[in-house]
C-alpha cells in the first residue's frame, strides 16, 4: 500500500482544541450540519528538542504522555508514532480488562488500572465505552479449580471482587455454554464482575485528544530510526523527520521493544510473537460476559456493534507478522464449537494478528535501563491493554521522579538477573509458552 504519509505542512499547525464533547454539543452540531467539529488531536510537526520523547503512539505511549502532562505538569513532551497512531496492538486487541492475577503485586497493579478505567470517560471527556459486564473463567479439572480458588482468595484478601460460580450459575449467565461438551465438562467458573471490555480504538483516540489538549505534541508518521547517546546517557532520537533531542526517552513500542532497545545497544529478555483475534458478523445480543474456556485456548466476548470477538493462544514462534494463520483458526474455532455448539452456523468475518513483546516471565517491564535517561515501558505480552491506564500512570511517575512507582516496582528489568521473576503461571523462560 502506498505510504499514506500526508505531505507535511511547511509551518507548524496551530494547536486546535476539539472543545468539550456532550449531548448538547451533538444536538447543536446536528442542527449546524456537523461543521463545528475540529481535529480530536493536533497533527504536530516535531520541534528540535523536548524534555521527554515517547516512542510509540499506542495505548501506553499516549497514556504516559497524558499523565505526564496532566499529573506531573510536564508538557514539553512529544509522542512519536511511526505510522498513524493507535493501529498497533491497542487497535487490534480483544479489549478485555480485569485484575484477576496470581501474584499479589500484579493484582495490585492491575486493580489500580481497573479503578482508572472506571472513571476514564469522565477523566478524558471521551466515551471509550468501558463496559463492566464481567469476566468469567471456566474450569474443567479439580487442579484448575484449586488454582482459581487460590487466585480468587488472593484477590479478595487484596480487596478485589471475585466469586466462584457453580455449573448451574455458569449456565444461567451464559445459556449457550454446553456444560458437558463431550470431553472436558465444565465444573464451574470464577467471575470477576468488575471486569469487562473497552472500545479499544477510542482508548488511543481519547488519550491522544487529552494529551494534545494538555500541550503534548503528537507526531504521526515519524519513525524512530536511532537512539543517540553521549557516554552512558541518551540525548535524543534519530527519526524519519530528523534528529530530535530529549532529556529522557521512553520506549513504548510493544512488539518492537527489542528493535528499539538494540538502537541503544541493549538486549531485552523478551521475544516478539503474534497473537491472533477473530470477529464474526454482527448479531443481536448473544453473550453478555467475557468468557474464557479452561480446557483449550479460547475466549470470547461480543462487541457493542454485535460482532463476536474471540481469540486463543499465541502462535508460538518469533514473528513480526501481524497476520492470522490457519492452524490457529482450526484450534480456536474447534474450542469455540466445543464449548458453544450453538455458534456452529455463525459466520466468522475476519482474522488478524498483533505482534507482542512476550517476556521471559510473562509479566511486563516498566523500568529504567542501563542507559541513563532511557525508560522502558514494554513486555506487555497479550495482557497490556487492560494495563494502559496504570502503565501510563506509573511510567509517567518513573519519568517524572526517576524512581519507580510503588505499584510497578516489581516490574523492573533487573528482576531476571536477580531471580525475582514474576511468573504468573510458572511457565519459565519460554516466551512462546506463556
Amino acid at each position: 500500500m502506498p505510504s499514506p504519509r500526508p505531505s507535511a505542512p511547511a509551518s507548524r499547525p496551530e494547536r486546535t482544541s476539539s472543545g468539550r464533547y456532550s449531548l448538547w454539543r451533538l444536538v447543536r452540531e446536528g442542527l449546524a450540519g456537523q461543521r463545528g467539529w475540529s481535529r480530536a488531536w493536533t497533527k504536530a510537526v516535531p520541534r528540535p528538542r523536548y524534555r521527554v520523547v515517547i516512542v510509540g503512539g499506542g495505548g501506553h505511549g499516549l497514556a504516559t504522555a497524558y499523565y505526564l502532562a496532566t499529573r506531573h505538569g510536564i508538557r514539553d513532551v512529544a509522542v512519536l508514532e511511526r505510522g498513524p497512531l493507535g493501529l498497533g496492538n491497542v487497535g487490534r486487541n480483544t479489549t478485555i480488562i480485569r485484575s484477576n492475577y496470581f501474584q499479589p503485586a500484579n493484582v495490585r497493579f492491575y486493580e489500580f488500572s481497573l479503578k482508572l478505567w472506571e472513571s476514564l470517560e469522565r477523566t478524558l471527556n471521551f466515551n471509550a465505552m468501558v463496559s463492566q459486564r464481567g469476566t468469567l473463567n471456566l474450569f474443567h479439572t479439580e487442579a484448575q479449580r484449586d488454582l482459581f480458588t487460590r487466585r480468587a482468595n488472593l484477590m479478595r484478601l487484596e480487596g478485589v471482587d471475585a466469586e466462584a460460580l457453580s455449573r448451574e450459575a455458569v449456565k444461567a449467565l451464559v445459556p449457550l455454554v454446553d456444560l458437558d461438551n463431550g470431553r472436558y465438562p465444565v465444573l464451574g467458573g470464577f467471575l470477576q464482575a468488575r471486569g469487562g471490555t473497552v472500545r479499544h480504538d477510542a482508548v488511543a483516540w481519547g488519550y491522544a485528544r487529552g494529551a494534545s489538549e494538555a500541550g503534548v505534541d503528537i507526531v504521526e508518521h515519524c519513525a524512530v530510526t536511532g537512539l543517540r547517546r553521549d557516554g552512558g546517557r541518551v540525548t535524543g532520537v534519530e527519526t524519519t523527520q530528523g534528529f530530535i533531542a530529549a532529556d529522557s526517552v521512553c520506549l513504548a513500542v510493544a512488539g518492537y521493544s527489542s528493535e528499539l532497545a538494540r538502537m541503544a545497544g541493549l538486549e531485552l529478555p523478551l521475544e516478539t510473537h503474534v497473537l491472533q483475534a477473530f470477529v464474526t458478523e454482527g448479531l443481536k445480543p448473544l453473550i453478555d460476559v467475557v468468557l474464557t474456556y479452561g480446557a483449550g485456548h479460547f475466549y470470547i466476548n461480543q462487541s457493542d456493534k454485535g460482532g463476536l470477538v474471540f481469540g486463543g493462544a499465541i502462535d508460538g514462534y518469533n514473528t513480526y507478522g501481524q497476520r492470522g494463520t490457519l492452524p490457529m483458526v482450526e484450534e480456536v474455532t474447534a474450542a469455540a464449537v466445543t464449548l458453544l455448539p450453538a455458534l456452529a452456523r455463525v459466520k466468522v468475518l475476519r482474522q488478524w494478528g498483533g505482534v507482542m513483546d512476550m517476556t521471559m516471565d510473562g509479566s511486563p517491564i516498566i523500568s529504567n535501563t542501563p542507559v541513563a535517561g532511557l525508560i522502558l515501558n514494554g513486555g506487555w505480552c497479550y495482557g497490556g491493554f487492560k494495563a494502559i491506564p496504570a502503565g501510563g500512570f506509573t511510567t509517567a511517575h518513573l519519568i517524572a521522579h526517576g524512581t519507580p512507582h510503588p505499584l510497578a516496582a516489581h516490574l523492573d528489568l533487573g528482576r531476571f538477573a536477580a531471580g525475582r521473576t514474576v511468573d504468573e503461571r510458572g511457565i519459565g523462560p519460554f516466551p512462546w509458552l506463556h
Binding site: 500500500m1 502506498p2 499514506p4 505531505s7 464533547y21 444536538v27 452540531e29 446536528g30 456537523q34 498513524p84 472513571s119 470517560e121 469522565r122 471527556n125 471521551f126 466515551n127 463496559s131 484449586d146 480458588t149 480468587a152 482468595n153 484478601l157 487484596e158 480487596g159 466462584a164 461438551n181 463431550g182 472436558y184 464474526t280 458478523e281 454482527g282 448479531l283 443481536k284 480446557a295 483449550g296 457493542d304 456493534k305 454485535g306 490457519l326 482450526e330 474447534a334 464449537v337 466445543t338 455448539p341 450453538a342 455458534l343 455463525v346 459466520k347 466468522v348 468475518l349 475476519r350 488478524w352 538477573a417 531471580g419 525475582r420 511468573d423 510458572g426 511457565i427 519459565g428 523462560p429
Partner: protein
C-alpha cells in the same frame, strides 16, 4: 413462469421445476436453480431488509457473495440461522426466510426514527456522549445500543452430537483461483503441461464473466469438457478461496450440493487446506457503486448484477430501469435487458461520449451524456430518478429501478495477503496487485485486463510462464475461436455525486460520504482511522462495492490523490465462514483424543469414577459417590493391609547408550552415574532458570541402560526437554531415547502386606530386605509374564511397582488381585493415592508449579556439589536464596474439626490480609486426626511450630492452623524400608 420478473430462460434455472418458499410469512414460488434473491426479484420483491443504523429500507444490490443489504435469517432444521446472503442462498422447496433488523415489521420499523434523527447521529456520535452518570453506560445506554446494533438473531437448535464437518488436505502444483475466461484458459494450459492443477471457483458453475455473454457459451462448454478430461486437473465449483497464508498454503471453502450433502451425512461445507507451489489469481473484478443521494433505495442495484440476474435466472430487474454508468462493460447489461424486452427508461453516463452509448442509441435507447443522477424518489422502492446534466434543467425520470456501475475493481485481497504491492491504474481507476514472483501471479480482470477474450489470452500466457518456472514448458494450445472483445471507451472515474441527501459508501453499516468527510475533519484522515471511526468497510461485505469509493471521498476531502490514500487492509476471510466449517470434525466429544489405560474397561466395570488428566482418563475412586468416605476407605486399606493402583500413566523413557549415565547426570540435579545396577533413585529435573521441571524415579537396568519415569502431567514436556538437550547441548553424547510409556502397564502394590502379595507373583525372586531392599529394581517374571519389578513407594508404605507389557496388563492385574485376596487387597484410585502422598509429604505437580526451586521444596541436599547440570548456574541467583521465599511445609488445623481447602491462603492472626502463602494440597488423614495439608509458605521452614490463620474468603471460611514439617506421617521412613 412464476413471478412477473421472469422474462427469459435462465442458464441455471429449470423452468419446469417450481419451488415454494416463504419470505416474511408470505408464500412465494421460484424455480429450481434460483437463489433466494433471484426468486424474490422474479416476484417483484424489492424491499428485503433494514439497514444497520438508520433502519432504512433496503433491497438487493448485487448478485453474489459481496452483497451488503440482502441478508436474511433462515429458519431451518438447525434453528434460526442469521445473516444468510439471499444472493448466494440456493432456493429449495419450503425454504423459510425472514428479514432482519426491523420491528415490528419490514414495512413499518419503529427504529426507522433513527433515520429522522440521523443528523444527530453522525459517525462516532457515541464517543461524544453517554458519559455520565458513570453507572448509566452498562445499565441504560449500552443495552440500548447493543439491541439496536447487530444484524441477524441467532436461535440455534443444538443436537447431542457435533454436526458433520470435515477438513480435507489438498496438494497441487498450481492453485487457480477463479474460473472465468482467464481461469479456464489458464487451467487448460497448465493441465496440458502435465502439472497438477486445482481450479477453485466460488460460483456454483464455472465460467465467471463468460456466463454473462451468450457468445461464449460454446467456448465455455468446450473448455469445461476439456478440463474434465485432464487427469491432473481438478475443478471445484462452489469453492471459494478464503485466505492466502503464505508458504503456498490457502484455505478454501467448498459448499456441498444436495447430492454430496446426502452422501456425507448432511455435511454442508468442507474446508480445504490447499498446499500449492504456485497460485494464479484469476478471480476477476468486483463492480463498485456510485455515491449519490438515495443510492440505497430498494431498486437501486449494480448494473453487472442486473445482467447476471437476466442471464443466469432469466429475471429482469424491474420493468423500467434507469442506468447510471461510467463504463462501457455496463452497456452489455443495458442492451441485454432491452433485447429481453425491458423498457430501459434511460442511460445516464457522465462521459460526453462513448462507444457503448452509441450502441445503445442505435438500439433506440436514450442516453443522457455528461449527466449524473442527483437523487431518487421513493422510500420503499425507486419511483423516479433525478438527473442533472450541464446546461439542462434537472429531469425526473419515472423508473422502478436504477442500475448503477462505477466500474470494476480488480479483486486483489488475496494477493495483498501474500504481500503484493498495490499499484494505481488510471485506466481503470483502481489498484492492481503485483505479487512476489516466487508465489505466483494474477491474470485477467484480476489485474485490470478488460474483455473476456483478452482475459483468456492473459490467463493462458500467465499459465505458460508458471509452467516454465515449474520446469514443465507448456505447449501452445492455440485457441482459434475466442469471441472477439468489443472495442470500448475507457471509463471516466466517478465516485460521488454531491447533492443534498444521504449518499452511502457503506450500505450495510450505513456510512455516508458526509460521515467520511466528518471523520477527516476530526483528524481521522488516515484511511484506517476513517474505517475505524465510521465503521466503513467493516460490515459483512468488507466494503467490496463501496470501500474504494469511500477512500476516494476521503482523498477528495484531504485534497490528495486516491493513490496516496490507498485502501483498507484486506484480511481473511474472503467470505464469512461458519464456525462449524473452520473447526472441522475434532470438536465436542472428539475435541481431544481420549488416552485410555490398558485396563480402562476393567476400571470401568469396577465402578471407577474417571478424571481427566490431560488426555488421560484415570480412575479417581472406585465408587460413583463423591465425598471422602470411599477415598479414605481405599487409602486406609493401603495403610492397614495392602492396595493396588494403576500408575501406567506415568511417563516412561528408555535411555540407552555408552553415555547414558553422563547424560542423566547433566539433565538431573542429582547424580545417576553412581547408581548401582539393579537400583532405582529418586531424581529431580530443573529448568535452566533453577525451577523444578519434574521429578520421578530412574532405574538402572544395565551398565548403559536406564529407565526414567516422569509425572503423568509433565511426561510430554519432560521427553521434549530431554530430546532437545540431547540433540543440542549434549549432542556429542552417544545416547538413544525412546518413549516407552504405552509399552508398559505399571501397578503399585502398597501396604504392610505388599511383600507377601508380590512374593506370590515372583517366585523366582528373593524379596527379603537384603536381597531386594528399598529402591531395588530388577527384571522379573511376574505371574509368568516377563516384566520389571521396582521397590519404590509414593504412598509411604512398603510398596512395589510391577511393570508388564501392556498387552499382558489384564493377566498381571488379576494375578495381583488374586494374590492379594487373602489380605483383602483393594484397588485404589488417584484420590486415595493423593491422600497417601500428602500425609507423607511427597510432592506432585500441585507443588512443582513452575515457581518452586529445589530448595523451596526441601531438596537442597540433592543438588550435585560437583559437575555441571541444567539449572545449576541460575540456582545461585541471589533471590533464589532469599529466606522469605515460599517453602514447602505441612499444615494441620488446630481444632480437630477444622477443614482445609486447596487454595486457602495463610495469614498472620490479627495482622490484616497480607497473604504469606497458600495451601497446595489437602486431605482428611487416614491415621492422624482431622485434615492435613501441604502449603507453600513464606519463610516456611522457620515458621514450623507456629500458628497461622487459614482463610478462604470465597468460601467464607477461616481456620487456625499449625505449621508442621511436610513429612507428617512416618517421618523416619520406617514403613517404606520395612
Amino acid at each position: 413462469m412464476p413471478g412477473p420478473g421472469r422474462i427469459a430462460a435462465g442458464l441455471l434455472t429449470d423452468a419446469a421445476r417450481q419451488l415454494a418458499f416463504r419470505f416474511d410469512g408470505c408464500e412465494l414460488r421460484g424455480l429450481a436453480g434460483d437463489t433466494l434473491a433471484s426468486a424474490l426479484l422474479a416476484n417483484g420483491r424489492r424491499l428485503v431488509g433494514r439497514s444497520f443504523k438508520y433502519h432504512r429500507p433496503r433491497g438487493i444490490v448485487t448478485g453474489g457473495p459481496g452483497e451488503p443489504c440482502a441478508l436474511v435469517d433462515v429458519l431451518g432444521e438447525s434453528g434460526r440461522e442469521p445473516n444468510q446472503l439471499a444472493t448466494t442462498l440456493a432456493l429449495r422447496e419450503g425454504l423459510t426466510a425472514v428479514s432482519q433488523n426491523r420491528w415490528p415489521s419490514l414495512a413499518l420499523d419503529v427504529l426507522a426514527a433513527n433515520d429522522l434523527l440521523g443528523r444527530f447521529l453522525p459517525a462516532g456520535f457515541y464517543y461524544k456522549t453517554f458519559m455520565a452518570p458513570g453507572w448509566a453506560w452498562e445499565r441504560i445506554y449500552e443495552p440500548l445500543i447493543r439491541r439496536a446494533a447487530g444484524l441477524g438473531r441467532l436461535d440455534a437448535r443444538v443436537g447431542e452430537h457435533a454436526a458433520p464437518a470435515e477438513i480435507v488436505h489438498d496438494h497441487t502444483d498450481v492453485l487457480v483461483v477463479g474460473a472465468g475466461s482467464a481461469g479456464l484458459a489458464a487451467a487448460a494450459t497448465l493441465g496440458a503441461a502435465g502439472l497438477r492443477v486445482l481450479l477453485a471457483e466460488q460460483d456454483i458453475v464455472l465460467g465467471g464473466g463468460t456466463l454473462l455473454d451468450p457468445r461464449w457459451s460454446g467456448w465455455r462448454e468446450r473448455a469445461c469438457r476439456n478440463l474434465a478430461d485432464q487427469a491432473s486437473v481438478r475443478c471445484l465449483a462452489s469453492t471459494a478461496v478464503l485466505g492466502a497464508y503464505g508458504h503456498g498454503v490457502f484455505g478454501a471453502l467448498e459448499t456441498l450440493g444436495a447430492g454430496e450433502r446426502a452422501r456425507f451425512g448432511g455435511l454442508r461445507e468442507r474446508l480445504r487446506i490447499v498446499r500449492a507451489r504456485r497460485v494464479l489469481f484469476t478471480c476477476g473484478a468486483t463492480e463498485r457503486l456510485i455515491a449519490f443521494p438515495g443510492n440505497d433505495v430498494p431498486g437501486v442495484m449494480l448494473a453487472g448484477a442486473a445482467l447476471g440476474y437476466l442471464r443466469r435466472y432469466g429475471v429482469g430487474v424491474g420493468q423500467r430501469p434507469v442506468f447510471f454508468v461510467n463504463n462501457d462493460e455496463s452497456y452489455e447489461a443495458v442492451l441485454a435487458l432491452s433485447e429481453a424486452g425491458v423498457a430501459v427508461a434511460a442511460v445516464v453516463d457522465p462521459r460526453p461520449s462513448a462507444l457503448g452509448a452509441t450502441r445503445a442509441r442505435q438500439a433506440g435507447i436514450e442516453v443522457i451524456a455528461g449527466a449524473a443522477v442527483t437523487g431518487v424518489r421513493g422510500r420503499h422502492g425507486v419511483r423516479a430518478v433525478r438527473v442533472t446534466a450541464p446546461h439542462a434543467a434537472q429531469r425526473e425520470i419515472e423508473a422502478d429501478s436504477l442500475l448503477m456501475s462505477g466500474g470494476y475493481t480488480p479483486a486483489t485481497a488475496l494477493a495483498c495477503q501474500l504481500g503484493a504491492r498495490l499499484e494505481w491504474q488510471d485506466a481503470i481507476a483502481a489498484f492492481t496487485a503485483d505479487l512476489p514472483p516466487s508465489t505466483g501471479c494474477s491474470a485477467g480482470a484480476a489485474r485490470g485486463i478488460g474483455g473476456l477474450a483478452a482475459a483468456a489470452a492473459d490467463g493462458a500466457a500467465a499459465a505458460r510462464r508458471l509452467a516454465t518456472e515449474l520446469g514443465r514448458p507448456a505447449p501452445y494450445p492455440s485457441d482459434p475461436d475466442l469471441p472477439p472483445d468489443r472495442a470500448v471507451t475507457p471509463l471516466a472515474p466517478l465516485w460521488e455525486v454531491r447533492a443534498p441527501g444521504k449518499a452511502f459508501v457503506d450500505l450495510q453499516n450505513d456510512v455516508t460520504a458526509d460521515d467520511v468527510r466528518l471523520a477527516c475533519r476530526e483528524g481521522y484522515e488516515h484511511v484506517e482511522h476513517m474505517k475505524r471511526y465510521t465503521t466503513c468497510a467493516m460490515a459483512s461485505d468488507q466494503g467490496r462495492s463501496g470501500g474504494l469509493v469511500a477512500a476516494a471521498v476521503l482523498a477528495a476531502a484531504r485534497g490528495v490523490p486516491l493513490a496516496e490514500v490507498g485502501q483498507v487492509k484486506p484480511r481473511p476471510f474472503a467470505e464469512p465462514v461458519p464456525f462449524a466449517a473452520l473447526a472441522g470434525g475434532e470438536v465436542r466429544a472428539h475435541y481431544k483424543p481420549k488416552r485410555r489405560l490398558p485396563l480402562h474397561e476393567w476400571h470401568e466395570r469396577a465402578g471407577a469414577t474417571f478424571v481427566n488428566t490431560g488426555l488421560w482418563l484415570r480412575p479417581l475412586v472406585y465408587s460413583r459417590s463423591t465425598g471422602w468416605d470411599a477415598v479414605l476407605e481405599e487409602a486406609r486399606a493401603v495403610r492397614r493391609s495392602v492396595g493396588v493402583t494403576d500408575v501406567s500413566t506415568l511417563g516412561k523413557i528408555d535411555v540407552q547408550g555408552p553415555d547414558a549415565a553422563r547424560f542423566l547426570d547433566f539433565v538431573y540435579a542429582n547424580n545417576f552415574s553412581t547408581l548401582a545396577l539393579g537400583r532405582a533413585r529418586y531424581g529431580i529435573m530443573l529448568r535452566e532458570d533453577g525451577m523444578l521441571l519434574d521429578d520421578g524415579t530412574t532405574s538402572r537396568l544395565g551398565p548403559g541402560h536406564f529407565l526414567i519415569t516422569t509425572t503423568t502431567v509433565n511426561s510430554a514436556a519432560a521427553l521434549e526437554h530431554l530430546e532437545f538437550h540431547l540433540q543440542s547441548v549434549c549432542r556429542e553424547l552417544d545416547v538413544v531415547l525412546t518413549d516407552v510409556c504405552d509399552q508398559w502397564a505399571q501397578f503399585a502394590v502398597a501396604g504392610p502386606r505388599a511383600r507377601e502379595v508380590v512374593a506370590a507373583l515372583v517366585p523366582d525372586l528373593d524379596l527379603s530386605n537384603p536381597a531386594f531392599p528399598f529402591m531395588g529394581a530388577a527384571e522379573a517374571r511376574i505371574a509368568g509374564i516377563p516384566g520389571r519389578l521396582f521397590r519404590i513407594s509414593f504412598s509411604g508404605e512398603l510398596a512395589y511397582e510391577l511393570a508388564v507389557p501392556a498387552g499382558s496388563a489384564r493377566a498381571a492385574w488379576e494375578a495381583v488381585l488374586g494374590a492379594g485376596q487373602p489380605y483383602g487387597i483393594r484397588p485404589y484410585g488417584l484420590d486415595a493415592l493423593n491422600t497417601l502422598r500428602i500425609e507423607k509429604g511427597h510432592v506432585t505437580t500441585a507443588e512443582l508449579n513452575g515457581n518452586t526451586s529445589a530448595d523451596d521444596l526441601g531438596f537442597r541436599r540433592m543438588l550435585k556439589k560437583s559437575g555441571d547440570f541444567i539449572g545449576r548456574a541460575l540456582s545461585a541467583r541471589e533471590a533464589l536464596g532469599d529466606a522469605n521465599r515460599l517453602q514447602l511445609v505441612g499444615v494441620r488445623p488446630v481444632e480437630g474439626t477444622g477443614r482445609l481447602r486447596n487454595g486457602m491462603h495463610l495469614v498472620v492472626p490479627g495482622s490484616g490480609n497480607a497473604s504469606l502463602g497458600y495451601i497446595t494440597s489437602s486431605t482428611p488423614s487416614t491415621e492422624l486426626a482431622g485434615w492435613v495439608g501441604l502449603a507453600l509458605l513464606a519463610a516456611g521452614r522457620q515458621r514450623i511450630g507456629t500458628r497461622l490463620i487459614g482463610t478462604s474468603p470465597i468460601h467464607g471460611e477461616t481456620t487456625e492452623v499449625e505449621i508442621v514439617s511436610p513429612h507428617m506421617l512416618d517421618p523416619e521412613n520406617a514403613r517404606v524400608r520395612a
